[in-house]
């Protein structure tokens, strides 16, 4: 054997006959630690999160500056502007701070505990208190007063129903993920997703309008603003249907779970994917809902009531889409993997498309149209009759949420080896740090 020492006489050393293997002793030489698989990826994601956190704070502060300038120029008494800017400044600033803290803590391999929120009932009680107070105040005051003073209650009326749904999800599946993953997912949904949705939906609207022009179909002026302009002819209805039921669902359901997709290889169970998707959808809903609430100006509470279940639509949609992505990325070996994967994505888009498209049912003659055009009253506060239909949708989506979280929780609690779904990330191998399903450096 080349290099083996030999005695002067020429015979080689016989080797030592140790009574026990030498590896049982502590070996003083330095051992090069191998990074566990996926660790580099996790670190890269952590640094990206950290960097985006800084960018996010800078962007949020710049927008805040715009708000201050706008307020100084007399736009401070406008709830519409205040809620829109609140959505686009609070999310980036708070999310940026969290991203920095969590990015650093992940780089330092600090573990994150399972998420914890107050019970869903507590959040529901707060929602009822906030809504009740706002309805009473609406009846007392003809005009609400200083917009800055109304803003906190308007914001909470958008946030609290959404957080109730998130608290319910955490109650059912909280052990599946970490606080770090949950909040970062929520803030991804509240920042990047609406920003890109705004851009993509804007581009799509222009392209569709261009298509109508090429097809020599004239659209009514201002129809691009579908929230305030009513359709006047068939071309308008088709345009709105394309925007509401095709573009918005595809763009929004594509973007909301993207944060989960980015860390999909670190997601350890379908339950975690579902919960993180739910959080992203809730984040998205918060920003969208407060934007709509502001448009009501003195009647903001009317819009808040009508959007009480929007968190279900966005949350469950994103949760199902995230679940779909989980199966597509991590589901090797899972029976009917592709069906589950694409099924989750299709569910999210269909649910959103049907919900949005229902807004146009008011144009249909007959009882459905009559119901949609009816006005309901809470005291003197008017609400759209279509709310009855949307409450029905919300109930159905809540049923889906209860069913899915129940099913995923059962799988989460099944004894080892009996789960019908994969445990998720690549199995741990030599040298890897054990990472408990609940918590851990994730």
């Amino acid at each position: 054997m080349p290099g083996q020492p030999v005695y002067a006489q020429g015979q080689p050393y016989p080797g030592y006959a140790y009574p026990q293997p030498y590896w049982a002793y502590a070996y003083p030489a330095a051992v090069v630690k191998r990074r566990p698989p996926g660790e580099i990826y996790a670190l890269v994601v952590a640094w990206i999160v950290f960097s985006f956190g800084i960018l996010s704070i800078v962007g949020g502060l710049l927008l805040l500056l715009v708000v201050v300038v706008a307020a100084a120029n007399g736009s401070g008494d406008n709830l519409d502007i205040l809620t829109t800017f609140a959505g686009f400044t609070l999310g980036p600033i708070l999310g940026g701070i969290l991203a920095i803290v969590y990015g650093i803590s992940r780089v330092m391999k600090r573990t994150s505990p399972p998420p914890s929120l107050p019970s869903a009932l507590t959040m529901l009680a707060l929602t009822i208190i906030a809504f009740g107070a706002a309805v009473v105040l609406w009846h007392f005051y003809t005009s609400p007063g200083l917009a800055f003073a109304v803003l906190p209650l308007a914001l909470l009326s958008g946030f609290l129903p959404a957080l109730t749904i998130l608290a319910f999800g955490v109650q059912r599946l909280g052990a599946a993920t970490t606080r770090r993953h949950l909040w970062l997912s929520l803030f991804f949904g509240a920042t990047m997703a609406p920003l890109f949705a705004l851009i993509f939906e804007g581009i799509a609207s222009v392209l569709i309008a261009l298509g109508f022009t090429i097809a020599r179909q004239n659209l009514s002026p201002g129809i691009s603003d579908i929230t305030t302009t009513a359709p006047r002819d068939a071309a308008d209805v088709l345009f709105m249907l394309l925007i509401l039921s095709v573009v918005a669902p595809l763009v929004e359901e594509g973007l909301k779970p993207l944060g989960v997709v980015i860390i999909a290889r670190r997601v350890r169970s379908p339950a975690e994917a579902f919960l993180l998707g739910l959080a992203a959808g809730i984040g998205f809903d918060m920003v969208e809902t407060i934007g709509y609430i502001g448009m009501g100006q003195a009647d903001w509470i009317s819009i808040a009531i009508q959007r009480i279940g929007a968190g279900l639509l966005h949350g469950v949609g994103a949760a199902m889409a995230a679940l779909g992505w989980y199966y597509l990325i991590n589901g090797k070996g899972v029976p009917r993997r592709w069906l589950k994967g694409f099924g989750g994505l299709a569910y999210a888009v269909l649910q959103h498309g049907i919900f949005n498209g229902s807004n146009l049912l008011g144009l249909v003659p007959g009882p459905v149209g009559d119901l949609m055009n009816k006005t309901l009253y809470v005291g003197r506060l008017p609400l759209d009759g279509g709310m009855i239909l949307f409450l029905f949708y919300y109930a159905v989506i809540l049923g889906v949420l209860i069913y899915m979280t129940g099913r995923l929780r059962r799988d989460l609690n099944k004894p080892a080896g009996t789960a019908t779904v994969p445990s998720g990330a690549a199995p741990l191998t030599a040298g890897s740090v054990p990472q408990p399903v609940a918590g851990g450096a994730r």
Binding site: P152, L163, A175, P415
Partner: protein, 254 residues
């Protein structure tokens, strides 16, 4: 000699079990408790702030200046004689609910008997809910044919001199925009089933015109106009307005 593997059973990390602890424990952690307390405190604080919001505005609510006289207070539909009718002014009609002004229409208040409003004037006009008119309900008040306040159904307003239309034509001076102020107001009921009220207060002593929506101050401009201004109700170029009740006060009447 057997070289032991680096992944001998003793050195192997425990495998990740398929199962996980059950969902969140019945009692939330300290973070959950903290979150709940903060959320409750914020909710209560937000309610208290909203309760006092009307008192926190920089300008007090609309009040009739002391000593001013009420000149008119009625449903214009019942008192058609003091308003221009459709034969003289385009877009001015009187359904039973009040005074309906069509797109680009305007209707002047003409008290008759040679009465003139001096020293200042306050016009307070109630609108029907927007759902009662087919087009967007945009309401306006034109004072002395020079100061125009228009507010749309969504609560966006413009204060202009003479007209809110942008200059047009080859020789138009685009720098001299007629729009003096723009904005939106939280005081406006954007819901189509809730009625609104607009008001304009011209104070000749201070040479200012202040505008209000539902009694809440919206904006104010300096205005050097006649001390006996004409009062015209109007709408935008694409809107309509149905005025159900109008009240007019003046500093003095001659």
């Amino acid at each position: 000699m057997m070289t032991p593997s680096m992944t001998s059973p003793a050195a192997m990390p425990p495998t990740v079990p398929d199962s996980a602890p059950p969902a969140q424990p019945a009692h939330p952690s300290r973070f959950g408790l903290f979150f709940g307390i903060v959320a409750s405190a914020l909710t209560l604080a937000a309610i208290v702030l909203a309760v006092f919001a009307p008192q926190l505005t920089s300008t007090p609510k609309l009040q009739v200046p002391a000593g001013w006289q009420q000149v008119y207070s009625a449903n214009p539909g019942d008192t058609t004689g003091v308003w221009n009718d459709a034969t003289t002014y385009r877009g001015c009609s009187f359904p039973s609910r009040g005074l309906l002004i069509d797109s680009e229409g305007a209707c002047e208040f003409q008290p008759g008997n040679g009465v003139t409003l001096n020293g200042g004037v306050l016009i307070d006009a109630k609108l029907a809910p927007a759902a009662e008119v087919p087009a967007s309900e945009d309401a306006g008040i034109l004072l002395d044919n020079s100061i125009l306040f228009i507010i749309t159904q969504q609560g966006d307003y413009e204060i202009c001199r003479d007209s809110c239309d942008a200059p047009s034509g080859d020789n138009a001076n685009f720098a001299a925009s007629p729009v003096v102020a723009t904005g939106s107001t939280v005081a406006w009921h954007a819901d189509a089933f809730v009625p609104n009220e607009i008001a304009a207060l011209y104070n000749a002593d201070q040479e200012t015109v202040a505008f209000y929506a539902n009694g809440q101050f919206v904006d104010q401009i300096n205005a050097d106009i006649s001390s006996s201004p004409t009062v015209v109700l109007t709408t935008s170029s694409s809107g309509e307005a149905l005025f159900t009740h109008v009240t007019i006060y003046a500093a003095s009447v001659s």
